[in-house]
Symmetry: C2
Subunit: 107 residues, 2 copies
DNA sequence: CACATAGTTTGATGTTTGCCAAACAATCAA
DNA sequence: TTGATTGTTTGGCAAACATCAAACTATGTG
């Protein structure tokens, strides 16, 4: 059977600026966010850190920081977790912030 | 006589995103940035932290973090230091970033 | 000169962070 | 059931960080 659930993440109103900025203020997490932004959303956790030599528990930690800050949401499907950027939520809470960061990353 | 100098700060091309985000990912520094953004630029260091109960050496530290990340520039005039946000530099390096942060702060 | 003013620098302290490794949990497949 | 896959959690460690306090620098003032 196909079970589906979502890992807990903050409501839009509870997303806080210092926490978001802190989550983004790490090179590894920035790289992850950049890759997530390029994704169609069909990639699992491992896919997002392909080519980055980093332990899986560290990856898990970074994903948690991103999720708890409100930047990402995680859908659990079987053994896989699919991580997505919460674009709508971020755009509503902090208009332009995500876009400017992604733009900066691209340059 | 009126001596004038500028404290060292990174060139536009050397401003790095993770460092900027890290500098902004602190509540005290965010508050300082918000006040600086509202300033005409005629206020000295102490003025920017009026009402924040924090030691002057800590303030000095935060100003250094902001300056070294490229967010601010500091003009030394006699005993006073006048801190300004480097709007042009930031807008050139990371278009929209500062504005979105300031907008988020205002809301 | 003596003193005040404005801020920096240098420890010291407690907290947070980023990382790995090992153990664990849950799902899927043979 | 046995084993492989995909992560999470816990523990430990070194580096980084925010803060304060005390000493110091530099400038202005009486």
């Amino acid at each position: 059977m196909t079970t589906m659930r979502e890992l807990p993440h903050p409501a839009v109103a509870d997303i806080r600026l210092p926490e978001v900025l802190h989550a983004l203020a790490d090179p590894v997490r920035l790289e992850m966010v950049q890759r997530l932004a390029e994704n169609t959303g069909d990639e699992n956790c491992i896919g997002v850190t392909d080519g980055i030599t980093i332990h899986k528990s560290t990856v898990s930690h970074h994903f948690r920081v991103l999720r708890e800050s409100g930047i990402t949401s995680t859908r659990v499907d079987g053994r896989n977790r699919y991580v997505q950027i919460r674009r709508e939520a971020l755009d509503e809470r902090f208009p332009g912030l995500l876009d400017s960061v992604l733009k900066a990353l691209a340059a």
